[in-house]
């Protein structure tokens, strides 16, 4: 009984499944898709300047989700890895936007003044810091962790989303051992090459969204 019943049902299921799989185009994934236009946003940064993605056409844009108290973020700031990447990026004309999506009362939440102080004290060098306490920008991009990195090319197309590197740990010593997935992606986009690993696993603390 099981043999026959399963075989037949499975055949039906598999048949139906293959029809669905072949007959329907894959529907759009809710989060942004690499290779498609990055979602448009307009957010005022901590210096009071409006940062609008469509105004940044012609430039490569990096989005970095951050949370100064998260051990994974701390790993990349303590090792100066993040600052180095920021300086390298801005020197090459890349617009680097650090995004803080922590809600008020949650870990990592800061106001504009505190954010600027933090940038100075960490010797960070982003083009600007965006505050997103309502989590709108974070949810628009499907940012899950801090850090979570996105690279948008000069035409406004999303080219990379994922982890900063390949070793998901809080250990500073792992920074040099890891494969620099984000750096490679950014360099590929800046030099107009194809990103080898366009979607990778983001690792870190969860983004402390408003609930």
């Amino acid at each position: 009984m099981p043999f026959c019943a399963i075989s037949r049902r499975q055949t039906l299921i598999l048949g139906g499944v293959s029809l669905i799989a072949l007959g329907l185009p894959l529907p759009a994934f809710a989060a942004p898709q690499v290779g498609s236009s990055a979602p448009e946003f307009a957010v005022v940064d901590t210096q009071g300047t409006l940062r609008k993605l469509s105004d940044l056409r012609g430039k490569v844009v990096v989005l970095e989700w951050t949370n100064a108290d998260c051990p994974f973020t701390i790993k990349h700031y303590k090792s100066a890895n993040m600052q180095k990447l920021q300086k390298q990026a801005t020197a090459e004309g890349v617009v680097w936007l650090s995004v803080i999506s922590s809600a008020p009362g949650e870990q990592g939440y800061v106001n504009a003044a505190e954010a600027n102080r933090l940038t100075a004290s960490r010797d960070a060098a982003p083009t600007a810091v965006l505050l997103d306490p309502e989590g709108k920008l974070g949810r628009l991009y499907g940012a899950v962790t801090t850090p979570h990195m996105f690279v948008i090319d000069a035409k406004g197309v999303l080219r990379y989303m994922g982890g900063i590197d390949s070793i998901a740990s809080t250990n500073v010593n792992d920074v040099d051992k890891a494969k620099p997935l984000f750096r490679d992606a950014m360099q590929a986009v800046v030099t107009g090459q194809t990103v080898a690993n366009p979607v990778t696993r983001p690792y870190g603390c969860s983004v402390k969204y408003a609930t």
Partner: protein, 705 residues
Amino acid sequence: MRLAQLHRCIRPLSQGFCVLIGLVFAALPAIASADESNAVVSPRATVSLISDADAVAPGSRFRIGLRQKLAPHWHTYWKNPGDAGEPTRLVLTLPPGASAGPIEWPGPERIEVGGAVSFGYRDEITLPVTVNVPSDIRVGETFAVEAKAEWLVCAEQCVPESGIFRLRLPVEAVSKPAGSDTTAAFDAADLRRPQFSPWMAGLAVAGEGFSLILSGPGLSPETAQDAAFFPDDWGPVDYAKPARFTARVGEIALALARGPTFDASQRVPGVLAITDSGGATRWYTIAPRISMPPAPSPATAVPLWQALAFAFLGGLILNLMPCVFPILAMKATAVARLSGGELREVRLSALLYIFGILTAFTALAAVLLTLRAGGSAVGWGFQFQSPVFIAAMSWLLLLVGLNLSGVFEVRTSGLGTWSGGRGRAGSFLTGLLAVVVATPCTAPFMGVAIGAALVLPPILCVALFLAMGGGLALPYAALAVFPGLSRRLPRPGPWMLRLRQIMALPMYASVAWLLWVLARQTGEGGLIAGLAGTAAIGVAAWLFGLAQRGPWRRPWTYGGSVALALASVVLLLSLKPVDAPVRGIAASEHSEPYSERRLDNLRAEGRPVFVNMTADWCLSCLVNERIALSTDAVQAALKDRGVVYLKGDWTRADPEITRYLRAFGRDGVPFYALYPAGSGAPLVLPPVLTETAMLDAIAAIPRSN
């Protein structure tokens, strides 16, 4: 008071007090027995290294475990931490010669914090690791284990913690189990240990998501009230989106959202947690994919109409099996000859062919029933276990080949006429022969039909066999029903002669194969008898051909050929199966011979086992072995999972193997079963194997060390 109880009772108290208690324990290592190390204590977690042995013996295996006792709201992570977090890491330093396996991750739970979903553990968890003690370590020495561990412990926020733990275990002649506290910790981890899933796991793509579908006996809304899936890797599943669970009798489904790297052509390995209506959760490893071939579970009772349908289908498939190939060749020539003939003749011939097949199947059923009544352990394809049958078949096919090659002609009615499929008796006998040659190849569905036949009342048994015969006869029967088909056949001409000669080749190939089988069954002596018979038959056929052609038409030529043929029959009687010398399967690098005792022992040890029942006369067995079993990838996968490969050879009758097959309701080979580690039920693999199917099945087994 046990540490776990202590931990629970201090929970409501201040965390400072908790730290204090922890410090007291850490500061007083003398209190701890050999089976628990120093502890690293924070307000979030109390972590130590434990052993399930108080003393270890040389050459033994034991387990150590990182025990994490977590304060309320805090959690640590599984091997795939989910959206955020980091799995616990463990680096071991062991005495020279000792080795350790990976962390045997207990089944995790789903932890949702602020919209992000993590996979991990709350309250208390032990992460076990199996350690092999070298056999050259001396009694009286100390087996020292040092573990460097890093773990991330999170509530709303995350804190990385680490520690170095040391265990010093005395080496004694006999291992000594640990105390009840640490044993209980390992038991709790073992309860969460993912088991090999006894169900068939598939994957269906629908809308923006996909569904995991498990089917098989034992699944129902009661046994599975809820389920959660924990994929091994990041990518295919979007964890944060809600999953939708449905259950009905025999099948459960979990609808999930696709992650950024979902690929419908890839399998999605992971652990499925199933919670029953009593609230108890069990974890199962699965590796579902869309194209997963159906993996039948052991057959029991089959409804009659289904058995008949499958028998018919099985018969139909027999037309395509390699064993039937020579017969198909003969049918093709027969049809070619008939194309110029009368329609009535075609119809009659097809009917006679069907009648021949049905007669053969009825006879087989009768033989099977007789032997069954006699209590004989008999299986499908059993006639191929008889060397006399093999030798006779090889000579018969040699005669057919020589006839097709034109060495002699068959003009009279009688034995020879069937070979070319000419004439009415020929059609009937071709049908008979098709059945005899087809039997060793158990088509996928036929095993069940035969299994059912063996436990059914005799009349139903005969009905089943007739259904199978009907399936085998169907293609030819089409000629009888639609005589127009034969008009589309090519006109006769000189090409027929060439075709006939070409058709001799598969006959000669079959002869070679049968002689090889004979050699495996009877050893060198049997092979010599077989070859001598082959030579005699060859000369007999040549003499017979001479006698048919003018000047040599003399009584002595006929007489000579008949005498030689008789001599070969005498040779048949000398054929006896031998036992030891060519025991088909010796222990090889990869496999060892099957025996009931060996299997029982391995199962008692909880080792994963792959059983392959095969026979030299079974071509599909040999093909499977070639393309799916002996490949490097499959051998490496088996080795990687510590699977013991048992191979049973059914080339000669072997009651142990027959019993084993009967236990699964089967009466033929090939037969494949994969037993998971522990005591889980075996997974019966389909008789037509592919490398991918094998790898899928192996991948679904949890790692055993």
